[in-house]
């Protein structure tokens, strides 16, 4: 039986009647009272995820400006000196794993380490030695009532009148008005945030029911610049970051702390969000989905994950050591989420295409992996999004389009040969305004009725991590971000409406709010790929 139980932050109405949150606030306060160079400090832990406080890094703003930590509006009051020594900087800081199959296990270890430090500080103040990090299940509650941030985080003071360390000034929300919520079902049936990735049945890669690059993310080795984020990382994780952080004004280049990996972990809500991500990963496993058996995953990368450990020594850990919740010392108050339906997506698809395979046939067909993945079409290079949406033409190759069309003739009840799938790729997306969510549409008509746009929506992408990925000498080598969206339903519709002989698809990119001046987003290329089964 696990020693610690992580509870729902919305217990006892999500205010300080929930003692998990009260003690969290006191623990955070204690950690905030330590210096930047102290491995037990809030700031050091935040920098482990990512930072803009060391002026000797390539991503420190030049000239100095937000999101430099010295330009953050308090609270919290973020220190900028003294920096740790170079050895500590190299070992611990800026480790966060994004766009990689290490995303989930790295963050699990990160939370485990922080939780131990917080518990230590809580116990020293007379708090319970059973305390564990709460989670914010934005999908939960009656009629989805927990989509809102727990009220304890919005209060500037604790019940005793002292300052509340959980309150952060630079937290703006989806509408930029300080109302912090996650637009997700059931309260927002169309999202954009959702838990559809929980229906994936593959941790990495793709099959007939799981789009690229897989639930947990793409396989990466030493260097993973240019890799897209995993399906679960993209949605809900990235979108929650973007929406909770938000931006206060369409004319200011400022955005909320949660919107950027280099400031996100300064906000105490970060860890409740990641606790929920961790919980949902555990739930995905509990639903019968397995983590990779590949030792390249379980042994971790050559550059080991390191967290501050007891006695000032680093704790090195691998994905293999933290992957099974049953072998760790904590569990969750509630692990169930929506029942996963990996066969449903494929069944629905084949039904639409006129086939009626039996359940056993479906089950094996779900696991079919693509034999070939190839470019189907591409846009011109160097697209720019400013204050208004853009539309561009993705020209399709005639020969490959014909091959895709032929694949639909193979659709049958035996599901022996599945039709092609397709995905859209946004390549080399660069810019500096992370708090942007882009809506991507296919063949969006110019004139349309209210609500009709939804039919043409391929998906939403959050530009969480954009700035750091754009920096030429940053960890992404200046390549920017890459996004993948499954557009198989569009391919199916083109087939059904006998429109698959089209020369091109029109792709519209719509930012969720006008971009401030000088924060244009550039896209290297938009491409479409087919996957042949």
């Amino acid at each position: 039986m696990a020693e610690f139980v992580r509870n729902n932050a919305w217990n006892n109405s999500g205010n300080f009647a929930n003692t998990d949150l009260l003690w969290y606030a006191k623990g955070v306060e204690a950690m905030m009272n330590r210096g930047l160079n102290d491995p037990a400090s809030w700031w050091f832990y935040a920098a482990i995820h990512g930072e803009y406080v060391n002026p000797n890094t390539a991503w420190y703003p030049d000239p100095p400006a937000f999101p430099g930590w010295g330009f953050i509006t308090s609270p919290p009051k973020v220190p900028t000196t003294p920096l740790p020594d170079q050895a500590a900087l190299d070992l611990y800081w800026n480790q966060c794993q994004h766009g990689s199959w290490y995303f989930l296990p790295w963050h699990r270890g990160y939370l485990m380490s922080l939780e131990i430090q917080l518990r230590q500080d809580i116990v020293s103040q007379g708090g319970p030695d059973t305390w564990a990090l709460p989670y914010w299940n934005y999908f939960g509650g009656t009629n989805g009532s927990q989509y809102q941030m727990p009220p304890a985080f919005a209060s500037k003071t604790l019940p005793d009148g002292s300052a509340n360390a959980l309150y952060v000034e630079m937290r703006y929300g989806p509408r930029g008005d300080g109302n912090i919520f996650v637009p997700c079902p059931p309260r927002f049936p169309n999202g954009p945030v959702n838990a559809k990735a929980m229906n994936n049945d593959l941790f990495t890669g793709s099959d007939a029911s799981t789009p690229l690059p897989g639930f947990g993310g793409p396989k990466t080795t030493f260097s993973h610049n240019g890799s897209p984020h995993g399906n679960f990382e993209s949605n809900p994780h990235d979108l929650v970051h973007g929406y909770v952080g938000g931006a206060p004004s369409p004319t200011s280049p400022i955005y909320g702390l949660m919107a950027d990996p280099g400031t996100a972990a300064l906000d105490p809500i970060f860890y409740l969000h990641h606790c929920n991500i961790d919980r949902m990963w555990a739930s995905w496993n509990a639903n019968g989905n397995t983590n990779p058996a590949d030792p390249d995953w379980s042994d971790g990368p050559a550059q080991q994950f390191a967290m501050p450990g007891p006695g000032g020594k680093p704790w090195y850990y691998t994905p293999g050591q933290v992957q099974d919740l049953n072998k760790l010392d904590y569990s969750y108050q509630e692990l169930t989420t929506e029942a996963a339906e990996p066969t449903l997506a494929l069944s629905d698809r084949l039904n639409v295409l006129g086939a009626r395979p039996t359940p056993p046939t479906l089950k094996s067909a779900t696991r079919a992996t693509p034999k070939q993945t190839e470019l189907l079409g591409a846009s011109p290079l160097a697209l720019t999004i400013g204050k208004t949406p853009i539309q561009t033409s993705v020209k399709l190759d005639n020969e490959i389009r014909h091959t895709a069309a032929v694949s639909f003739a193979r659709v049958s009840d035996t599901a022996e040969a599945l039709p092609d799938k397709a995905f859209l790729k946004l390549e080399n997306v660069s810019g500096i305004f992370d708090a942007t969510v882009l809506g991507v549409y296919i063949n969006l008509p110019e004139s349309r009725s209210a609500g009709e746009s939804e039919k043409f929506l391929a998906g939403h992408v959050s530009l969480f991590g954009l700035r750091r990925a754009t920096v030429k000498d940053g960890q992404h080598g200046g390549e920017g971000l890459t996004f993948i969206l499954d557009i198989t339903p569009f391919l199916d519709q083109l087939h059904l409406t006998k429109a698959l002989d089209t020369d091109s698809l029109q792709v519209s990119i719509v930012p969720d709010k006008p971009l401030p001046d000088a924060t244009e987003v550039k896209i290297g290329r938009i491409s479409i790929y087919r996957q042949a089964f």
């Binding site: 042994d299 050559a302 760790l328 993945t373 960890q475």
Partner: protein, 264 residues
């Protein structure tokens, strides 16, 4: 990102195989020029002409007689194939993953042509320096020591890291027509440029050694592969180079340990 593991492994093994074949050829076939592998003990015609204070035209004649340009270029190209091919796995994968299937071979060749054209042009300069050293200081380690010192400084410099970072940057590519061809060739030239900036001093150092040339080239090759495996980093003054192989070796050792339960 790797879309197809099998295709990626085929590419990796093909390029590694090309490199290995090139290394074998270098080791087993005789050098086309006395300049490459002569230990410097035997007095060459060039050295005798120099010792006799012959006129400049006679010196040049002896120089090119002993070092015919064609075979020199051939030897240089063979060394590039041996040393640099493994570092091209990622950029060639980028070309192939982002172009239409029927164009992949052509665009890969254009990339390779652009890449090697830049290196061969650079090779003319490198070899000229090498020949000059042979003429002016035959058999001496001084030129190599001098460049070696510069190589050490360059190796630890922020400029070196900047060059390595640029090697990781893969540009978006036009997909259709002659623009696709142009972009592939341009990517080859660009990649070679950053490779050259990164490796020039180490390459020159190995070339200038009057003895131990092959061993030095193998070490430089290993250095280039290790550096290619390391992720981009903030440019700063620091020792860099073989830490990737150290970390990879440590990872292999850790694999033999039994994983335990996590307790931070």
């Amino acid at each position: 990102m790797i879309y197809n593991e099998r295709e990626y492994m085929q590419l990796r093994w093909s390029l590694t195989g090309i490199s290995l074949i090139a290394w074998i050829l270098i080791l087993v076939r005789p050098a086309s020029s006395s300049s490459w592998c002569c230990g410097g003990d035997c007095p060459t015609q060039l050295q005798m002409v120099m010792a006799a204070n012959a006129p400049f035209s006679q010196i040049m004649e002896a120089l090119f007689a002993e070092n015919p340009p064609g075979p020199l270029i051939g030897d240089w190209a063979l060394m590039l194939l041996a040393m640099m091919t493994p570092t091209l796995i990622q950029p060639i994968h980028h070309i192939r993953a982002n172009s239409f299937v029927r164009q992949r071979m052509r665009l890969t060749l254009l990339f390779v042509l652009g890449y090697f054209a830049a290196w061969i042009a650079a090779g003319a300069a490198f070899v000229t320096i090498m020949l000059g050293a042979k003429v002016l200081m035959p058999g001496s380690f001084l030129p190599a020591l001098f460049i070696g010192l510069i190589a050490l400084i360059w190796q630890s410099s922020p400029a070196k890291q900047r060059s390595l970072n640029r090697c990781h940057h893969h540009q978006p590519l036009s997909a259709f027509g002659t623009r696709a061809d142009r972009d592939a060739a341009e990517m080859g030239l660009n990649h070679a440029r950053w490779c050259l900036y990164s490796c020039w001093s180490a390459m020159l150092f190995a070339l200038l050694l009057p003895a131990g040339h092959m061993l030095a080239m193998a070490a430089v090759s290993l250095l280039a592969i290790c550096e290619r495996m390391a992720p981009p980093r903030t440019p700063r003054w620091q020792w860099r180079g073989f830490d990737a192989v150290w970390k990879y070796g440590s990872l292999q050792l850790r694999r033999f340990r039994r994983p335990g339960t996590a307790s931070a």
